[in-house]
Symmetry: C3
Subunit: 205 residues, 3 copies
């Protein structure tokens, strides 16, 4: 069990780091300064979870532990120092970002259940936890939110949430449930990017 | 009385539907995908009420009943299936949207009063309930908020709120108060669009 | 002591007024109408403190006293009537805005401490109280947030917050602590604008 918690903490750290890197790189593409980069990194890393916690009526998670601010500061330092090498690592960012999405999704679902929410709310909260930070980033950067148009992203979180729900209803052990939900989100996201899968576009009238 | 509640529920459903349609059609004009359309629809339908509830310190209303998510899903389906015929219905959307504005405004006022807020706060909350969703939609779409420039919209809600306040002070029965407030908002909004009434623009220096 | 409170209230009023003016002038540059100007003024004047209060789990401060809405209404009237003379007063706006930033920063720190938050959270909350309103304004105006690129602004608040923290740790009397924190923020901001000091920009890959 302690090993499980260690694995989860490592994934959470990598996910937060990858989310922060995503915000900072987008900020760099608009030539924001270091502070702007830090805020955009923070927005991606903690934005979704903060919205979730405010709606659940509890203190935002990042206020209880400075690790998220520190992790984002490390990401900023990393981007500043290794700016030239970031592109070469883009497969790593994509992988970490996907792990982060899948993990944050599950964390959002579980926290909502603990707060007595029904599963349909928990699935929405999981999706918000994983995907809303990127929307805030795009709003701050004055861009159209990328998840509303590009390869499947938020829907991968919803699918992972539905898998979680189904397995809980079937009384499957929690470790299996978490693993299957995690794998579902990761798999759909990987496939979406590999095969350029996206939802149909709405037709303009 | 049961008849009143039925009428109110029908108006609420039509208003939510019209608000969601507004978000989805705007998303379509930017060629967002189905998920992007759904989120924009949700933003208009529940965005204002969610801000109100968070500021009142209570659980957002949509988390207590899945009807709002379902209504938005129906609106999305409707837009996808009847894309070609939407424009012809624009008078209907406008009418439903106005009913929604007037009703959401009153719902926001009443909820704020129940939570012990003074009337000046309740009027602001009514206006936020009715009009803030459209602002969130425009922010997500990377547009300038339309209610800051076009025909009178939010001010119609404020006028309905002031009417509500005045009649409560005068001890008018609640049914009359609600009706007059509702009619005030609808009338001002209809007149504003019919005669292209808008507030004066600020002068650029 | 009563004299202190009077000074603080005057600074708070001037700061709120200057923040509101900033929002309304930006709205004017986009030719928003009076309502749009009022909302943008409100956003700058109360946006940061509202985010702080929601995250602290308490009722937003502006709901407990109508003075902030009234002050913004006065700012709107002022901009409408004296539109031609506003530019000549730009040194005054800059001075009031800086006083507002320094004071709102301290107010945010102190309120967070009262709510039992550790100092690192309080410093972030102070920065949000002073600087987030301007970001909301820029998002509503469909602009890139100016504080992510221009002369040092939010960092001046953080520096004032660190000074506050250090002096509290050293058991310095509260009046001195407040004064030094206030002066630190103002001084850094004045110097930043006078000598065009800004943080390094992130490099685009």
């Amino acid at each position: 069990m302690e090993y499980d918690i260690l694995v989860q903490q490592i994934i959470e750290f990598l996910g937060t780091f990858a989310f922060a890197i995503s915000g900072i790189r987008h900020a760099a593409s608009k030539r924001f300064d270091w502070f702007g980069g830090y805020v955009c990194g923070i927005a991606v890393a903690i934005g979704g979870g903060t919205i979730r916690d405010v709606m659940l009526g509890t203190t935002p998670f990042w206020m209880t532990n400075p690790i998220y601010m520190e992790c984002t500061a490390m990401a900023l330092l990393f981007v500043i120092v290794f700016a030239r090498h970031l592109k070469r690592l883009s497969n790593a960012w994509f992988a970490f970002d996907t792990l982060g999405l899948a993990l944050f999704n599950i964390a959002g679902i579980q926290k909502s259940i603990v707060f007595g929410q029904p599963f349909w709310v928990a699935i929405i909260m999981g999706c918000i936890t994983g995907a809303a930070g990127g929307v805030i980033r795009d709003v701050l950067l004055n861009n159209e939110p990328v998840i509303f148009r590009k390869e499947i992203y938020a829907i991968a979180a919803v699918a992972g949430g539905l898998a979680y729900w189904g397995l809980v209803v079937l009384n499957v052990p929690i470790e299996v449930t978490v693993f299957v939900s995690f794998a579902t989100t990761c798999l759909i996201r990987f496939m979406a990017v590999k095969y350029h899968l996206s939802l149909p576009k709405l037709k303009n009238e």
